[in-house]
Symmetry: C2
Subunit: 478 residues, 2 copies
């Protein structure tokens, strides 16, 4: 049964993971290609996942006092250049507007690759007193980075994201807020997306252009590659100085405030696909699935079946579930394969015999486990099964992460472990960028993060043998 | 009392309406100017109004089967040129991207001024069969039009909007849907924004570039100028032919589908300000006000006052109201003026004496009418007062509209009426564009719409004297 239902057009992930990924994106109708290379169309099913992510994250942001705003999409070149490290990082991948209508512009404008400079210009206008702080802003928008290569969800020239930008009176407060936002992202990934994360700090080499410190959550995909799923940056007061942002403190002194920024993007959807998907397609975490429950009537031409299905749908909708009945003419086999492809977490089957017995059958997407449920207990059973699916997805992903973190004590050992197993390789590290470059050159791995939860694996750097006090994770990343 | 509380920085609207408008936008902290002329910053309070508009409209769209998507922000010039009338209208106000990173692009891309061309390109990919129709898409995004002049909310180079794009099997269905969406906008304006509208059709001269018919809702502002608040367009199958969009019908024939598009923008916020505002600032319709109720504790240093205010806040929040307590050190006079400026529909005052009597005082923004309310009845009283404020706002605006529609039978009469009274001038019209141009030249008025509710004012055109069967509204518009 399982075999004949398989949607043949998907490449098996064991055969070609990259092709499997692209197949899922297309066949589950998440995304489409556009006229311009690297610019993708978010189709209704893909965009609906993003809407659900937005709804939950936005509420979390508002709980910690963040307010939404919207800044212009264009940045004058002179504004971008105000902070040296920042412009060096972003200028090479900006798209530039040079004509407005039929006229050449006096100064060219780039489409925002990120909006620190725009927020800072505005902060300089609106921050005067310590009473104006902290100021916590966020915007949901798209940004543009003129990348050479692209892949659906993972690397777009234009992608949807949110970018938070805050200003604080003290360095300590700003640092604490940077970490608080990282923890909001981490908890969201684990509790909503069922994606376990490793929390840590980026090395200087990998941090955001212009930041003093970048914190990251790193996930492990099915193919054991790493995905950076969200970052939170602490800027000190460098931008504030460059942009002339000052406030009058309680002692009537003019001082520069301290800054953070933090963001996640539709890359998270790429993470969901590669963490949870299987050879039958997408597997969506119940808490963000656009359709949580699909009801498939069996022998739907028989009297009463469609009416019963509609009643179940209404009940589940009233109970707050996102639910759909498929009463189309397609065969049951086609429907099962279709909703497996689309990753719907739970399927409800009900036919004449079920209805005679006041029951229906729940089938889980993750393991196809079936549960016969009395109709009167439907809502409770669905809630329970969706929670079970979430837990099951998290546990599998956590096992995949935990099983593929390897310990190494030399470059050669790190290289061999990566080649053999993929995953993260953890070593001690002296902190020297030369060793980081060496690891990339020899073992093909970049540093992923210096985890907050440190372990003592030894006293010397795996790369150079000098004294080392930090444990670091290395990996091959998307 | 009222006099001393007045916020002196606002220009009276009777003195200079345009300056009054700009003052309100700035002082109520809705918007800020940016580095680039005509590109504005939506500040938290302004953006929160937009979020409330989005929430309600998006739910209405979803009720009629519309799904959200996101299309790229860039349009290759060759794609924009596929429909002749469309490109002629929009090309002169496009911003053009000519560089990607450090490389000159082979073809220049414009930042979307509207996205018909992008949707059509995608529709050509995804529409194959009659089973794929109707297809109803919408996106929330910003668009860019390189205008020479700009005003907050009314004319931006970049503004936030939604654009719906749908495809239907038959012309009749598409036409009906075009009108359905216009009615959704009209009902929203009246029932949510308390802005009465006139529903009608645009003339050929005023219709959207490339459309066969454009329907509009026209509102009247305080200064009796017209504001086009939303439009819905019927395209026939012109774009479908130009873009090669075809479906196989039930008879296995390839045919072109029929198309609509429709949009409203943050211009609605400009409409709210100019419909409802007064010389004390903004007046917000309760159903979209970011703060519906502000609680101002009186003599807040006295024991129990702040605690009581916090309790009232919690009760109102639990009842689903958007509520805030201002317990800052500012004076009561300052606070009253501040929340009047911000247009908060309802103020709750509570001091020691009120609390002794288990009561508080509700003050309406519109007319400062006070109601003493028993604390136990607070939720019901607040709901009732907010509804009353909405009705009052609508009635006032409706009276302003109804009182300023004038009937004319000649060009000279139309001109004199407009000069004397502003407002709409209604006349019979033969349908000839020459007469429309003449009205503009002689009386300075553009055609606003041919109202759906026609009246018979006579048998001849007010402009040329030839037979006429249509009644039309003229006005000076934003």
């Amino acid at each position: 049964m399982a075999k004949e239902m398989k949607v043949e057009q998907i490449t098996d992930m064991e055969v070609d993971f990259a092709q499997w990924f692209t197949d899922v994106c297309r066949k589950a109708q998440l995304i489409d290609y556009s006229f311009i290379k690297g610019m993708f169309i978010y189709r209704p099913y893909g965009y609906a996942i993003w809407e659900n992510i937005q709804k939950i994250l936005d509420a979390e942001f508002k709980k910690v006092g963040v307010e939404n705003v919207y800044m212009p999409m264009l940045i004058p070149e002179s504004l971008l250049q105000k902070e040296k490290d920042h412009v060096e990082g972003f200028a090479p991948e900006c798209a530039w507007v040079t004509m407005g209508g039929n006229e050449k512009l006096d100064e060219r404008y780039c489409i925002r690759p990120t909006s620190e400079t725009l927020f800072c210009e505005h902060f300089a206008n609106v921050i005067q007193s310590h009473r104006d702080l902290p100021l916590k802003y966020n915007q949901w928008c798209s940004v543009l980075r003129w990348e050479k290569t692209s892949r659906p969800f993972l690397r777009h020239r234009e992608f949807l994201w949110q970018e938070g930008h805050t200003m604080h009176a003290t360095a300590e407060e700003a640092q604490a807020f940077t970490e608080q936002m990282l923890n909001i992202y981490a908890d969201f990934c684990e509790n909503v997306l069922a994606m376990p994360v490793t929390r840590g700090q980026k090395t200087d080499k990998e941090k955001f252009n212009g930041a003093e410190a970048t914190y990251t959550i790193e996930c492990m995909m099915h193919d054991r590659k790493a995905l950076q799923a969200g970052t939170s940056h602490y800027f000190g007061n460098g931008f504030a100085k460059a942009f002339g942002i000052e406030y009058t403190d309680r002692n009537n002194q003019k001082v520069n405030p301290y800054q953070t920024s933090w963001g996640v993007s539709t890359r998270l959807i790429g993470g969901i696909i590669m963490t949870h998907g299987d050879n039958n397609g997408l597997v969506l975490p119940p808490r963000i699935a656009p359709i949580q429950v699909v009801i498939l009537p069996i022998a739907q031409h028989k009297p009463g079946v469609l009416e019963a299905a509609a009643k179940l749908e209404a009940r589940l909708r009233d109970a707050g579930f996102r639910v759909k009945v498929d009463d189309s003419d397609n065969s049951m086999g086609w429907k099962c394969a279709e909703y497996e492809m689309k990753g719907v977490p739970l399927r409800v089957e009900c036919g004449p015999r079920d209805l005679e017995n006041d029951q229906c059958v729940l089938v889980r997407r993750t393991d196809r486990a079936k549960t016969v449920v009395k109709l009167e207990e439907l809502e409770a059973a669905v809630a329970q099964q969706l929670d079970a699916v979430h837990r099951d997805m998290y546990d599998r992903a956590k096992k995949n992460l935990d099983d593929h973190i390897y310990e190494a004590h030399s470059l050669e050992e790190a290289k061999a472990l990566q080649e053999q197993n993929g995953g993260f390789v953890k070593t001690m590290w002296c902190g020297d960028q030369a060793c980081e470059l060496k690891m990339k050159e020899v073992a093909g791995m970049s540093s992923r993060c210096i985890p907050f939860r440190q372990e003592h694996l030894g006293d010397t750097c795996a790369c150079c043998g000098k004294p080392a006090s930090k444990m670091i994770y290395w990996g091959v990343a998307y």
